[in-house]
């Protein structure tokens, strides 16, 4: 797989705010079909890193290439699906049905003068079916549970037929049962649709077994290529000594 052009090619990324180092010399590549979790302490730079990958924050120095193109020259943003941290905390009075939100995923792809094509409609419906929310399509988003909202946000991202899904702590405000279901869905998207998954999680205890690689971001990036041996990854056990054991036990319970 590695002979392919990576989706993200990040080299020597630095980010400093008012003299304070947030990220220092971060380099990595992400290839199609990968399933990667990013962990790290609060304020360690996880969200900043993702914002840089999406072009929302400018790095102090360093290079980011997306599908082989420099970030500034990259235009095919529909290939990247983003689900932000606060996604499940929607304003309850915002006038949006589930379908309204999922349709947003198709907007940037079509021209100004084009209405929704048959393909747009099919993609929207397909995304809702995959996320099991088709029965909710006329419901107002504000009335849904955290877990349902989470699936709506992912369906919106899926509607643009992305190659990669980037999720920033997608489980904020979601109950445990929905979280389990969520990880099953992510794994399914990764395996069956070959969608690359990159997600930040705060809680190492809930990381599923399906992860291919684990990035630990705490100013610097430490990449663990075999999460099964995560406990032996020095940085991880340094950061998450207690939690890592909890994860270990958690895995044994199942």
């Amino acid at each position: 797989m590695k002979f392919k052009v990576p989706i993200f090619d990040v080299k020597n990324l630095h980010f400093t705010v008012r003299g304070q180092k947030i990220l220092s010399d971060v380099s990595f590549e992400i290839y199609e079909g990968e399933y990667i979790a990013i962990i790290g302490p609060n304020g360690g730079g996880k969200t900043t890193l993702i914002r840089m990958l999406l072009g929302l924050t400018q790095p102090t120095s360093g290079d980011i290439k997306i599908f082989g193109k420099k970030l500034k020259e990259f235009k095919e943003w529909h290939k990247i699906g983003y689900v932000p941290q606060r996604a499940t905390l929607v304003d309850e009075s915002f006038p949006a049905t589930v379908e309204d939100i999922v349709k947003m995923g198709r907007i940037a792809k079509r021209g100004i003068f084009a209405g929704a094509s048959r393909q747009d409609k099919a993609m929207v419906e397909d995304a809702m079916i995959k996320m099991d929310i088709l029965n909710l399509k006329d419901k107002m988003v504000g009335t849904l549970s955290g877990g349902q909202r989470q699936r709506v946000m992912i369906a919106r991202a899926l509607a643009s037929a992305p190659k990669i899904l980037i999720l920033d702590e997608p489980n904020t405000g979601v109950d445990m049962l929905s979280q389990k279901r969520f990880y099953t869905l992510l794994a399914k998207l990764n395996k069956e649709e070959n969608i690359t998954i990159l997600f930040i999680t705060h809680d190492i205890g809930v990381i599923a077994d399906d992860i291919g690689r684990l990035f630990t971001i705490n100013q610097k990036a430490t990449i663990c290529n075999d999460p099964k041996k995560m406990l032996s990854c020095e940085e991880v056990s340094d950061l998450y000594g207690i939690d890592a054991h909890a994860l270990h036990n958690h895995k044994h319970e199942h």
Binding site: H78, P95, A96, M104, I112
Partner: protein, 265 residues
């Protein structure tokens, strides 16, 4: 009703009023969802500077109002991005500052009379053919923009960052939106008045939001409320010789209160 519409001035007022109801409510949906409500008030006061210049210098006040409002909208956007001041504080400063400038211009020019009063509170008697034409020209341009980009503007209102990451030109569309809102506000001051146009832009949408329906239906309900309150308010204005802006705004506030009560959980 037929008697009322047999007068030329009422025909002009109705054409202008209905056009403005459509423009104000459609743009108002985005203004409210983007939390720009106070901005509409500020732009209305800035438009008054244009009116004052027009009255004193003898140009068509509506044209100059459009220019003044656009200038103010761009200045607000610039100040918001250039200085990390509280954006509502910038709006408050611009609002009172514009009003002060307008009053001084009018006082110095000796034009502090009924015609300024009509621009403050709206007047159905004063809508000229030229005004109707100005409203039609600028209004059509604004409406076409809003309808073409309604999906994009809706997405930006929902989540600006996600819209940006999916490839929507957020900054450009924001800039166009404030420009169009400035134009619509300036056009509206003839019929609704600069002190009251903010209400016609904001309240129909806030009333429609009470029904908790999707985007398209919220917009349609808001449009219906705005059109209804303009027709009802202008009729009251005609029969009781009241300023049209005030009667229109009171009509829409009554609709809002009714909407609030019947949708109470």
């Amino acid at each position: 009703m037929t008697e009322m519409l047999s007068y030329d001035f009422m025909q002009r007022a109705f054409i202008a009023g209905l056009f403005i109801a459509v423009l104000a409510s459609v743009s108002g949906t985005f203004v409210v969802l983007r939390r720009y409500s106070l901005m509409s008030e500020t732009l209305a006061h800035s438009a008054l500077v244009g009116v004052a210049v027009g009255l004193v210098a003898g140009y068509n006040p509506l044209w100059i109002a459009v220019i003044a409002a656009i200038g103010a909208a761009w200045l607000i956007e610039y100040l918001r991005s250039a200085f990390s001041l509280y954006s509502d504080a910038i709006l408050a400063i611009m609002l009172s500052g514009s009003l002060a400038i307008a009053v001084i211009i009018v006082s110095l020019g000796g034009a502090f009379n009924n015609s300024l009063f009509s621009y403050l509170f709206g007047s159905i008697l004063s809508v000229t053919n030229e005004d109707v034409l100005t409203i039609m020209i600028f209004g059509s341009f604004s409406l076409v923009f809003l309808l073409l980009f309604s999906k994009e503007l809706y997405f930006i209102a929902y989540d600006e960052e996600v819209a940006k990451t999916s490839g929507i030109k957020v900054r450009f569309l924001n800039f166009l939106l404030v420009t169009v809102v400035a134009i619509i506000i300036a056009l509206s001051i003839r019929v609704v008045g600069s002190l009251l146009i903010g209400a016609l832009m904001v309240i129909p949408t806030v009333a429609a939001l009470q029904y908790r329906v999707g985007f398209r239906n919220t917009m349609l309900i808001s449009l219906f409320f705005a059109v209804f309150s303009v027709i009802f308010g202008m009729s009251l204005s005609y029969y009781y010789s009241l300023p049209s802006g005030a009667t229109i705004v009171l009509s829409i506030i009554i609709i809002f209160i009714i909407s609030l009560i019947i949708n109470k959980k």
